[in-house]
Symmetry: none
Subunit: 197 residues, 4 copies
DNA sequence: AATGAATGAGACTTCATTCAT
DNA sequence: GATGAATGAAGTCTCATTCAT
């Protein structure tokens, strides 16, 4: 009885997320053209029409997934930035949190890896996803003011960092879990050396 | 007669590249699902059937483009690595050559950016593209032996470098040409600081 | 209390007609395939399920509208035929009443215009709609007996008349209201000349 | 050999007409919603995609059929109007030709009957179909100038005539062929009496 | 070798209908 | 009785691929 209640609850409340998760998995594994909406419906345990109650088109679904991930990223960063710590430590926390987040949700990472520069993602959607960077921007400008971080264009720094994170995570996924912390330390050293004054 | 020969020559010899270039452009701008073979044929000024004389399927064409780009990359690197120069200079040359190459062929870059982690690219194709890295590997191991470059896993260094290049070029494309050399210098400084001992 | 009663009254008693009127409008303006049941429900201010309490299928709804209009036509004709007047006058009254009725309810007219020969209307429904013609038949046979109307097959006369009415009304709708009475007189003259002995 | 050539000729040249004829038949018999494009393709002996080489949408196909019929009507009328005959005779010839045409092509007639006032037919298409009326207009104005035909708005006359033709043909189709000429004479008498001065 | 009309499998999407609330 | 989210069968349409020219 208890169990059947759980099921009902899950089905009615979280249908949208069910769909997003199922679609994300399939899109990562097979690619856009190889995952028909019917397959997503089956994987999400819904009727095909139900998906269209939440997303008007397949493209809208993909953009929806993009935003879903970007929104989740924000939460990670907010918790990672503890203002009482030293700047270098805060930077390491932030970088580590990001890496851990993507290691924990490999489909989110794989999805972003595949779609971040795909024409399927609308400019509008991309813009909406940029809010996340605000706390990092603050961190970096603080660092520059304190003379700890190189005096260069902020955007340049941001691009550099996000590029290193993506490539690093993709590579880390191929490594056994027990080596990862060591490799992360090496990476942090390289990245910090790169941006520090 | 002369004229008709020219036409024939043009059609038979260059048709494969015509197709690749037209397809690359469309795939970058519209995405896979939004560029039918008929559109590629029209853009390449050929019949649809002609494409199938060179590539057995659409997927094969996409993988063909991938290899076409990877092959061109090799040439860049070979010319960039002049063994008489100092190691740091050779590194700078290599990095600069790569950046310039992608700035010069933005569709090649956009294509790799979009497809490098797409399931459409077969594992087999990916393997074939890895040969390019050999000269860089040599450069980095040399550096490590000479105590100039951090003693860490080679693959780790490679991943780090390719990640920084991709993100950097993507960002550089949004900047006016006259600023680019300055920004490249900043980037080189960051990257070298990151990997140097 | 009063208020809530009103609401209830409105909802239960008139719901069927609400639905018929909303559906008629939409079907005329958009056509069958372009008016989903959901659109009808919205226009009728009901839930989609409510429609199915009154009509088992969409086809049944369309046939229901057909009969609704045919039933209303009867009322018009009954009042138009005052047996104390001369036969010509009675004919004019009947024809005029019909024209006025359709001018007053343009959606009824447009609906019949569109569906009178559509395969969606079942033969059964068509039969049920034919009762209306009885008073007209009587009028015409009377006229033939009195030597006022041409001696020809009754059905032939009926078809002729209904054809002229439909086309005339469709055309009259495009004319400003103030011209209509003059045009109706012209039409009556033509029609009467056509059928009179 | 000869025969097989004929077949080939038929298939390549007339594919568009094949489709129109098959579609017209099905649409008349089943209605729009009950005739899927797949059924039309099967009836026309083509692949479904072939239809879309000639008509971009189902709606365009229906509009195409409308124009196809309207175009055929013109031919009928041109041959029917022999300027050396008396005006009354010319009118009878025109009316008779029209009736015979629709009796000969019952699907053309049934199609027009069902779609002439359907929202599926675009205003644009309707306009294009109006050219046909020119010869008839000429005939009627001639008649008015000669004092043979009632002095009333031309459009009024046209609407009246087309209304009578449609209804008459629809009814005639239910009659055995041998009675038709007699009934046509009755009809001509009624119509002429209606419009003559 | 080059072509592109023809093809039909299969994609996306709609919508009549149901049923739990 | 009223509702509308959920459903999936079935529709329209696309497009990779073929093959006769």
């Amino acid at each position: 009885m208890e169990y059947s209640f759980q099921i009902t609850y899950f089905c009615t409340v979280d249908k949208r997320e069910q769909i997003i998760l199922a679609a994300m998995k399939l899109l990562c594994e097979k690619g856009v053209q190889a995952t028909p909406m019917s397959a997503i419906a089956k994987a999400a345990n819904t009727g095909m029409g139900t998906i269209y109650n939440y997303f008007p088109t397949k493209e809208a679904l993909i953009n929806g997934i993009y935003l879903h991930i970007k929104t989740a990223e924000i939460l990670v960063m907010d918790t990672a930035l503890d203002e009482t710590k030293s700047l270098k430590l805060r930077f390491f926390h932030f970088y580590t949190a990001f890496v851990h987040y993507y290691l924990k949700y490999p489909y989110s990472f794989a999805f972003m890896d595949q779609f971040h520069s795909s024409p399927v993602i609308l400019e509008e959607t991309r813009e909406a996803g940029k809010a996340n960077f605000l706390p990092v921007i603050e961190l970096l400008t603080d660092g520059q003011k304190q003379g700890l971080i190189k005096e260069m264009e902020l955007e340049s720094l941001l691009q550099f960092l996000s590029g290193t994170i993506n490539t690093f995570v993709r590579w880390l996924q191929t490594k056994p879990a027990k080596q990862r912390e060591v490799l992360l330390k090496q990476q942090l050293r390289m990245v910090w050396d790169a941006i520090k004054e």
